[in-house]
Symmetry: C2
Subunit: 341 residues, 2 copies
DNA sequence: AATTGGTTCTGAACCGTTACGGTCCTTTCA
DNA sequence: TGAAAGGACCGTAACGGTTCAGAACCAATT
């Protein structure tokens, strides 16, 4: 039976025809994929776990790029890609237990996400992406800290000392407001924690008291959040000369807010992002470009590479500082430098 | 064993604790999802079949919107979404046979796609989207023909009689060039066939000889294709007053080409699209807006609705004609109308 | 003491496939 | 003619759960 479908060489054409004929006559729909998976111990699919609602994956430009790369890798290997529903609001990890997959890719979830813990308990290979190196599973990422440090250096060189920051969510709880240094330090999102830490390091080296820098956190990741975060920072300190956002999406929102206030970028205020998405590029945003598609592809390749010996592996992809037209010297920056620290 | 994990009420807490303890000690990783699926006959996932390479789903704005809606519906139901790799170049339908899913959504594949045939042979519910009504499975779509007819009417009312068309691929073979009426009629892509047919009907009614209208087909769906298609049409007949594209992406490309030639839209030439994507909206494109997200959500709801009695169902969603600033009367249109048919 | 009722626990059957090894038949060659 | 070899076919045992029937046990009732 099985042979008739999958192993035509194991039996005579005559018998094969007869088997297939009667199978059709009996209404047999072909071998059941689930039973086959059980027997062969191959599901033919990899699971993807995201921190956000499933549909978020299709709204965020960076996530879309990552998914495209991952899909590319899956396609090459002829594997399916299973999007695992993991509602961050609920602690329900049943979906992780229920997923019939040969491996997991975990993309940018908080360190303490129960879904991540559930994945790590499953006896399948796993690749974490944009997360701390766990030492036990493969990892793909970038040097968020170093890249942000470079961006900060660029701003410092331009003369900026009085700055504000808008960042994405730092933990699983919603906190749309200013962030204490403690919260920054304890942030459960690896990416945000490292980007902030790169900023803190660079500006501290330049003599800025980081604890006085207004950092506005936003739970939702869209331009509206960028705008309201920027507004909050500007209300707190109208004197800032640069607004650093930890993503391009937030930065685009911040630019909207700047425009709304009649502030010209970069003359009145410098705005920077992070990611290197298309819309940011079109806006001439100063940012760090990271290879999101390559990140997805690398994660898929790592997961589907059957060479077990070399696990766990850790891959860091290169980023590039893009100096666009949204950054410039602070207004009256030259004079300020004379009086600066 | 099973009860200890899934049915805590069926046994004493004491025994449950003992079972779980020894399970952990023996390194038991929890119930195997595949074996469970086999027994319960529930995979906890729905499959998505696309005509294009998997990664295309993340590059095309309309596809992304559809996926977002579908993901939303899956999330509500706690189901996973399996992207089935279906390379259109190969006839390899094994991926369809291998997919452990409770149902399929088939999105805009050609009528004669072997993957579609393979899906229909599987004994699971199926929803086809942007495809002809098969009568045997659920269907979600829009009235492509009627919507394009309305758009054509708008152009006819403005006075356009000499037009050109750029359309997406009509069949599985690559044909980057002009399309004969025969090929239009025999097109294997339901959506394109109907949009062209709506155009043909409207313009024929207005006295235009449709067989003389240049229709350029492009296999790849991106702005470059839109530009080259527009170029081909304009080279053939520089006198056309309107360029009708069967998608917004193509239309944006066509506008690039118009600009390259120094043609001003809509003063020198009218350009229209179809879909209602964000980028088109920002460009002020005259187009037909269709609810892509709702389409995906409706497909998911239909598939996950367990009420079998009412199958098969057919859902048509409403579209809206958006008159933007890329359509206007033809240059000297008023005079031409005096001499027109 | 025997019956009844209820709860907790155990064991076996089954889901549908694939892998494997054994039987049987045919062919080849000494 | 007999033995060895090879090919075709078939039967059976997992794979790892879930489910359900019924055994075992305990307490309450007759």
């Amino acid at each position: 039976m099985s042979n008739a479908y999958n192993r035509p060489d194991q039996l005579s054409p005559e018998l094969r025809r007869r088997v297939l004929d009667t199978a059709r006559r009996l209404g047999y729909p072909g071998p059941d994929p689930v039973a086959r998976s059980l027997r062969t111990r191959k599901a033919g699919a990899v699971g993807l776990l995201l921190t956000e609602n499933l549909s978020y994956a299709f709204r965020d430009p960076a996530a879309i790029g990552f998914l495209e790369g991952l899909a590319l890798a899956c396609e090459d290997a002829g594997t399916g890609l299973l999007l695992v529903p993991a509602n961050p609001e609920r602690e329900d990890v049943a979906s992780v237990h229920r997923a019939g997959v040969d491996g997991f890719v975990v993309y940018s979830v908080p360190d303490d996400d129960p879904h991540l813990a559930a994945v790590l308990e499953r006896p399948v290979p796993t690749v974490v992406c944009d997360q701390p190196d766990l030492g036990t599973v493969d990892r793909v990422g970038i040097d968020d800290r170093g890249a942000m440090y470079e961006l900060a250096k660029h701003l410092i060189d331009l003369g900026h000392r009085r700055i504000g920051v808008v960042c994405m969510r730092l933990a699983r709880d919603r906190n749309d407001g200013f962030v204490t240094p403690d919260r920054q330090h304890a942030a459960h999102f690896h990416v945000q924690r490292n980007r902030l830490s790169g900023l803190a390091e660079a500006f501290s080296e330049a003599g800025v008291d980081w604890s006085q820098v207004p950092v506005a956190e936003r739970f939702d990741h869209n331009t509206a959040s960028g705008a309201s975060g920027a507004a909050q920072v500007l209300d707190r300190d109208p004197q800032i000369t640069a607004l650093i956002c930890t993503s391009d999406v937030l930065a685009l929102g911040a630019m909207n807010e700047a425009a709304r206030r009649g502030l010209r970028v970069p003359h009145d205020i410098t705005v920077t992002g992070f990611d290197g998405i298309r819309a940011g590029e079109e806006a001439g945003l100063t940012t760090v470009r990271q290879p999101v598609l390559e990140k997805g592809r690398a994660a898929g390749k790592l997961l589907l590479d059957t060479n077990e010996r070399s696990r766990p592996r850790s891959v860091n992809l290169a980023t590039e500082l893009i100096i666009g037209k949204t950054s410039g010297p602070p207004r009256g920056g030259a004079e300020e430098r004379w009086f600066g620290p």
